[in-house]
């Protein structure tokens, strides 16, 4: 594997992002707008649920990390469908770059984008939204890092399954919203029906929320994030296995339909 070629692909994707920055706006700016908006709602819900000193940011920030981080799923897929729309896919495959190098090169900017999003949200919370991290920051970093990798891997798996960009769009964004709701990223799980709480652990958002909530809100020991990290890691591996089994580089995807 050539790191040089993967780096070239990553730089190329960043160059395109700079020319067409709408994904940056969605992934970086919108959660910064949403976190303050949700803060008062979450504060009331948390105080009602037994956290009288909660600022609301201690739930709003993890919730936006979980919700908007998962939008990396469709954005990862768009990196591949865009190649089909611009008819450059054959061209890229005709270079010496191997499939692993191409996947790594495209994943790297998405992972970087997710990390920037998390840092921006935590910074906004700390400096402007009265966020107090009661636990260990490295634990948040570890969970969030695995969560971002999980979202990018699921994006790759989804790319391997869907056949059109419309399918990717629908499944990616609607799926992220529904899974976010079930996983507790839109409203606290305690306010949802009981069956939702039973279903929640099948979503990556639940495990990200649970870990961040344990660390940020409850200040529990960092070691408690090991289970969420393991589960998110399992989601990631499962997605990669699906991608490896289903992704066919010589297939012609449909750009628009």
């Amino acid at each position: 594997m050539s790191l040089r070629r993967s780096a070239a692909i990553a730089r190329h994707e960043i160059r395109i992002l700079r020319r067409d920055p709408m994904p940056l706006v969605v992934l970086l700016v919108l959660p910064l707008i949403m976190a303050p908006l949700y803060r008062t709602t979450f504060r009331a819900a948390l105080q009602f649920g037994g956290h009288p000193n909660a600022s609301g940011s201690d739930y709003a920030v993890p919730a936006q990390i979980a919700q908007f981080g998962f939008f990396l799923v469709p954005f990862t897929g768009f990196l591949y469908f865009r190649e089909h729309i611009w008819k450059t896919w054959t061209r890229v495959r005709a270079t010496p770059a191997t499939p692993i190098e191409i996947v790594a090169g495209k994943a790297a900017p998405m992972i970087a984008l997710g990390i920037i999003q998390i840092v921006a949200l935590v910074a906004l919370g700390e400096f402007a939204l009265d966020l107090h991290v009661h636990g260990e920051l490295p634990a948040i970093a570890a969970v969030s890092g695995v969560y971002i990798c999980c979202a990018v891997a699921i994006g790759l798996a989804l790319t391997a399954i869907v056949r059109t960009s419309q399918q990717l769009n629908a499944v990616g964004f609607l799926g992220a919203t529904v899974l976010g709701a079930i996983g507790g990223a839109l409203v606290p799980l305690s306010t949802l029906p009981r069956w939702t709480r039973t279903l929640a652990p099948v979503t990556p958002q639940y495990w990200a929320m649970r870990a961040n909530r344990d660390v940020i809100l409850d200040g529990r020991p960092g070691g408690l994030v090991l289970l969420p990290i393991a589960v998110l890691g399992a989601f990631t591996i499962a997605a990669i296995v699906i991608a490896i089994r289903r992704l066919r580089f010589d297939e012609r995807e449909v750009g628009w339909s």
């Binding site: 040089r4 070629r5 070239a8 692909i9 190329h12 160059r15 395109i16 020319r19 067409d20 611009w86 008819k87 450059t88 896919w89 054959t90 061209r91 890229v92 495959r93 005709a94 270079t95 010496p96 770059a97 191997t98 010589d250």
Partner: protein, 309 residues
């Protein structure tokens, strides 16, 4: 480039049936064939984008199945469909593929300047692809195939939709690349381009190579002169027992060693059908007539023709 016994199937359909072809360094081969003949499949196998079901393909001595990445580094491919990054500049498009091919920064800069001259892109380098015309895009698209000085160039219909200026520029660059030692496989529907390049010819029909060789040799062996008559409505049965003729829908093609001299005699013999005559064309021995002689149909004609003696 050497291909030996290449077979490719898509389900029940056999796209290539034991194709063997060699393109030595410094030579140009025009890969001809009607739509669906298997040209693009063959090109994609040589470019290590698809695996053959049977047979062996080597580019610059490298097996494309065993070492696809190494093989691709030796091949420059211009696919049939123009593919460029719309929001990037021409320079950025060229630089990206040069970088993936392993060219360092200084080498990239020099090579892009060279290609800008050869493909007449000098004033376009810093323009966004989105703002280019169709012909300009085609030139950039094809230039990318040349960016790493590949040993083998696979140009799949490089002039489709191209304007006259673009076509002339492309043919000049292809000739220059061959002169520098590149092996060139040039797939096209435009027979005059192969004639203009004076390339050798490989004729692919229904997944089989039915003829290969130097253009002049093939034309000398199979090319036929004649007169082509086009009618309003179905062509009549030709009343020329002494001259072999071919009927295809509204066209009758009559073989004649001296087509110009034969026209008055042929038209005179048409009788009442002369009223439906819409055009007369003199056919010289050419690739077109080679194709007709070998396949019984005009180039790009999908339906089999009825041949009369």
């Amino acid at each position: 480039m050497q291909a030996a016994g290449v077979v490719k199937r898509y389900g029940d359909r056999v796209a290539l049936r034991g194709v063997s072809l060699e393109v030595p360094a410094g030579e140009m081969v025009g890969l001809l064939g009607p739509n669906g003949a298997g040209k693009s499949t063959l090109v994609s196998i040589i470019a290590a984008l698809r695996k053959p079901d049977e047979g062996v393909v080597r580019v610059d001595g490298v097996d494309v199945v065993a070492e696809p990445s190494a093989a691709r580094s030796r091949v420059g491919l211009a696919p049939q469909e123009t593919g460029l990054y719309e929001v990037l500049t021409v320079r950025e498009n060229l630089a990206y593929f040069a970088e993936l091919a392993g060219l360092r920064r200084r080498a990239r800069t020099l090579r892009i300047d060279e290609l800008a001259g050869a493909f007449r892109l000098g004033t376009l380098l810093d323009r966004t692809v989105f703002a280019l015309s169709g012909g300009e895009r085609r030139r950039v698209h094809t230039a990318i195939a040349f960016v790493h000085r590949p040993r083998i160039l696979l140009l799949d219909e490089p002039t489709v939709g191209a304007d006259i200026e673009t076509r002339a520029a492309l043919l000049d660059v292809v000739r220059a690349a061959a002169a520098e030692g590149a092996a060139i496989l040039y797939s096209t529907h435009y027979l005059p381009e192969v004639e203009a390049l004076d390339a050798a010819v490989a004729l692919l029909v229904d997944g089989r190579l039915i003829a290969t060789g130097a253009l002049r040799t093939l034309v000398a062996q199979h090319g036929r002169a004649g007169v082509e008559l086009r009618f309003d409505g179905p062509a009549p049965a030709p009343p020329f027992a002494d001259l072999p003729a071919t009927i295809s829908h509204d066209v009758v093609r009559v073989d004649a060693a001296d087509p110009a001299a034969a026209v008055p005699m042929i038209v005179n013999r048409l009788g009442r059908h002369v009223e439906r005559l819409r055009g007369v064309e003199l056919m010289r021995p050419s690739l077109d007539s080679v194709f007709l002689a070998l396949t019984g149909r005009r180039y790009q004609t999908e339906a089999p023709d009825v041949t009369a003696a």
